[in-house]
């Protein structure tokens, strides 16, 4: 996203004392909404991205902006944060009308965006990441200034404590690169607090968090709300939106479909508003599993990450694996893919013992792995779809002289695009031009090209909209009917229940329990997930 905007634009800086009871300061202006979006239109070449959207945001309220990819969500965020001006319509912030809100004005008004990449500097300390930007703002961007380190530490401590992180010197001195992702998320929010945000936009903040971490984030949001901060929350996870509460705003094709308290909508209604079609919560799973065991994993162990993990995967089976972030599920997936191999244990594939020490071992044995972090671990973003599809099977496309058979590569890529319903004008378009759901399908298509025996899908619908999820689920079912054994590693509980035959629950590096998906309710599974202490 484009936001090369100095934060020092905010002139009114210094942090107000973060008190729990700020009701007195909120009350006088409470009658007027903090921000109004009035009849906003935005056109890009050929696309009418926003068609007259009008919204109203009250102080101290949480809003969920929902919609499929391409519905205009990102455009709306950009307009509110001042990164792009609307073509028609205006924004009214605290009664002041802005036909063309600049990024500087947005920041000065206290509108902060926590982007998906968090925009934290990995090599700098927590305190610096939290408080230096407001320090920079204080100096209006001028660098030839010294700074008061004690003041910096005080600002950082206050903001960190407001999000539930320790404010002590030890934690403040920790480098961002040494922190787990969930903690970084909180640090990014702490930075918004240190900058006296009044309106915080969070772009898919829970994408890579586990349930417990999401709970913590929800608590932080409740605190922000109690302090009169407005939060605009963008997420694909409906369950979380319900848990957080507040208002929901549904966009479809650049138009507002609904705005109102989320409790007044059922999930099915929201899905229908978003997609314009009726999506059921029925199980996708149709076929049963075959009798033959494709993959037999015995006493798989990697010190400190998982130990003594054993399970069998049948042909045509979809096996779900879930657990909290520290349960070892991610590490298990990476070990099966040969990325970070297991140190002991056996893997038997089709009755033969195999070794999985490197990713190419896995590939040679036709075990495909679609990683969770598709942007960093999976795709060559600036390369064409074709190159991304053929990369796993490139050696079999060589002719006698070691040259790639371009015609076959083209045909294969086109076939994949057709099979997996990837929406693109052509296979030579770069992968980064696709939406999240389509990118994910390119990755799956890559492994289909090697005719896999086992396909490991790690969080395949993370950051993917409802419509694309539906297509990915249908693809999974079709693949399993071909006899491919599929391992689905996910923390999306409805996804597991809708798609799997069996679900393995991992805890503290071990398989704690096994469930049959068709006999289980989400409530039971959720309960089992959280009852880790037991």
């Amino acid at each position: 996203m484009c936001h090369g905007v100095p934060r020092w634009a905010r002139l009114n800086l210094r942090l107000a004392i973060m008190n729990q009871d700020v009701s007195s300061s909120v009350q006088p202006e409470a009658s007027r909404p903090f921000l109004q979006v009035a009849g906003v239109h935005k056109r890009f070449t050929g696309v009418h991205a926003l068609r007259g959207v009008s919204l109203s945001f009250e102080r101290g309220q949480i809003y969920h902006l929902l919609g499929e990819n391409g519905c205009g969500k990102s455009t709306l965020i950009k307009i509110i944060s001042g990164a792009q001006p609307p073509d028609e319509g205006e924004l009214v912030i605290e009664g002041v009308r802005h036909a063309r809100l600049s990024a500087l004005e947005a920041l000065a008004a206290g509108i902060e965006t926590v982007y998906q990449d968090l925009s934290l500097l990995p090599n700098m300390s927590v305190a610096e990441n939290v408080a230096l930007t407001s320090e920079l703002a204080l100096h209006e961007g001028r660098l030839a200034r010294t700074f008061d380190r004690r003041e910096l530490a005080r600002t950082a401590a206050r903001a960190l404590e407001a999000v539930g992180l320790p404010g002590d010197a030890e934690f403040q001195a920790t480098l961002i690169e040494q922190l787990p992702l969930a903690t970084r998320q909180l640090v990014a929010i702490a930075r918004a607090i240190a900058s006296e945000a009044k309106f915080v936009i969070m772009d898919e903040p829970t994408t890579s968090l586990t349930q417990k971490e999401v709970d913590n984030l929800i608590a932080v949001l409740a605190n922000l709300r109690a302090q009169g901060v407005t939060v605009l929350f963008v997420s694909h996870k409906l369950d979380e939106c319900y848990a957080i509460g507040g208002e929901v705003i549904v966009l479809r094709d650049g138009q507002k479909m609904a705005q109102g308290p989320i409790a007044q909508f059922t999930k099915a209604q929201i899905s229908e508003l978003m997609t314009g079609r009726h999506l059921s919560n029925e199980r996708y799973r149709e076929g049963g599993l075959g009798q033959d065991v494709v993959l037999d994993v015995r006493a798989f162990t990697r010190a400190g990450q998982f130990s003594d993990v054993s399970f069998r995967l049948h042909g045509g089976e979809i096996l779900g694996i879930t657990g909290l972030l520290d349960s070892g599920r991610n590490e298990l997936a990476r070990a099966l893919a040969g990325v970070a191999p297991a140190q002991s244990g056996q893997v038997v594939l089709d009755g033969r013992r195999i070794a999985l020490r490197t990713p190419s071992d896995a590939k040679r044995h036709r075990i495909g792995y679609v990683p969770e972090d598709r942007l960093n671990e999976g795709l060559f973003l600036d390369k064409p779809i074709r190159d991304n599809v053929i990369t796993a099977m490139i050696s079999s496309l060589r002719d006698r002289f070691g040259q790639i058979d371009r015609a076959r590569a083209q045909a294969l890529a086109e076939q994949t695009v057709k099979d997996l319903q990837i929406a693109t004008p052509g296979v030579d378009k770069p992968v980064q031009s696709l939406s999240g759901g389509n990118q994910q399908r390119v990755l799956i298509g890559r492994w289909l090209a090697i005719d896999p025996r086992v396909l490991i899908l790690h969080g395949p619908t993370v950051g993917v909209d409802v419509g694309s999820k539906d297509i990915i689920y249908r693809i999974m079912q079709r693949l399993s009917q071909r006899g491919i054994g599929i391992i689905l590693i996910s923390d999306d509980l409805p996804e597991l229940l809708q798609n799997c035959d069996r679900i393995l629950m991992m805890k503290k590096g071990r398989v704690a329990s096994e469930y049959r998906a068709d006999e289980l309710s989400e409530a039971d599974l959720y309960h089992a997930l959280l009852s880790e202490a037991a």
Binding site: R7, E135, G141, L143, T146, Y242
Partner: protein, 352 residues
């Protein structure tokens, strides 16, 4: 149906206290502490080298050795401090030796020709200004072209050196201006060793101390310094957060140029010789020293203390191995081995 799916959905939203659900933050382990302060590794190598050399030749342990070390480390330290700043900003500069050579030779020659009695302070300031100018050219190019600084500074290294040899001169001269010659002889401190020699600590060591302090202060106490590290962490994020990248680029390369200019002038007065073929070629030694001091080549890290230790280590190897009868060709082998060991250790730490 939905209420059955989500157990929490229909419950009233109770606000949990943040502390209850806050993520656990582990106190850093010994390993992460070491990763945070890689200078300890440099210290260990220095101690090891000193003990080895001292065991073979006990004469190593005398004040005169330290004086020698500081004397020969001055030029390199100034270069290294500049390199530290560039590396911390995520760039790399290989033109600083050419900048030093051009300013030292050009200024020495000009002063000798037109104003042989010029005061030393003025010569030093001219050197600094000349260095800043040449450095700022680097900074402008890197910022404007958005080109890798390695490419840009390889280009300017050739350019500056070519200009020096083509337009200014190729002959070295030992008749340096009086004030420069005089400055090189001022002792800050001296004493007579047991065998009657005069061991001198030259006053130019003060330049080292001053440069180290100023660099430390700039990096750690000013917004500019934090901006340098921010840019080294991520150019895109630093820009988004409102850091003025143009100012930072100009500062980084200008400051490096300034230190190089000063180093050039001090080099002439210390050696009482202005040689246009001098200095260029020692870039890798300097970069090696900074890396051995714990800075990462990928940017965003590095400390002044670490850099000085790295310089001490490299200088130690270069100057004292002769004391114990190791042929000078072995210097490179040992420095190379140390860099590989350090690189391996840092890589192993990152893997965990």
């Amino acid at each position: 149906m939905n209420s059955r799916l989500n157990p929490r959905m229909n419950q009233p939203m109770t606000t949990p206290t943040v502390a209850e659900v806050a993520p656990e933050v582990k106190p850093p382990s010994l390993r992460t502490r070491l990763a945070r302060n890689p200078e300890w590794f440099t210290v260990a190598l220095i101690v090891l080298t000193c003990l080895l050399v001292g065991a073979i030749n006990p004469r190593f342990f005398q004040l005169a050795t330290l004086f020698d070390l500081l004397h020969s480390a001055t030029t390199m330290s100034l270069f290294a401090l500049g390199t530290l700043v560039v590396l911390a900003s995520g760039g790399i500069d290989v033109s600083f030796t050419a900048i030093a050579a051009l300013t030292m030779y050009g200024i020495t020659k000009a002063v000798f020709a037109w104003w042989p009695d010029a005061p030393f302070a003025l010569i030093l300031i001219t050197g600094a200004l000349g260095g800043v100018m040449l450095g700022v050219v680097n900074g402008l190019l890197v910022h404007r072209l958005k080109a890798p600084s390695l490419i840009v500074t390889i280009g300017t290294q050739y350019l500056y050196r070519g200009m020096l040899l083509t337009f200014i001169g190729t002959t070295f001269f030992m008749n340096i201006p009086h004030s420069m010659d005089h400055f090189g002889r001022i002792p800050l401190f001296f004493y007579h060793t047991a065998d009657g020699l005069r061991a001198v600590l030259p006053v130019s060591v003060l330049a080292l101390v001053a440069a180290a302090f100023v660099t430390w202060w700039l990096l750690n106490r000013t917004m500019m310094g934090r901006g340098v590290y921010a840019m080294g962490g991520s150019l895109a994020i630093a820009e988004r957060l409102g850091y003025n990248l143009r100012a930072i680029h100009l500062f980084v390369f200008g400051y490096t140029g300034m230190l190089a200019g000063i180093a050039g002038i001090l080099h002439v007065s210390n050696n009482r010789l202005a040689n246009p073929f001098d200095l260029v070629g020692s870039e890798l030694d300097v970069i090696a020293a900074v890396i051995l001091g714990g800075a990462r080549i990928t940017g965003g890290t590095g400390t002044v203390v670490g850099t000085l230790l790295g310089v001490v280590l490299v200088t130690l190897i270069k100057s004292v191995l002769i004391l114990v009868g190791v042929p000078s060709t072995w210097q490179k082998v040992i420095i190379g081995a140390f860099i590989l060991i350090a690189g391996t250790l840092f890589a192993l730490q990152r893997k965990r």
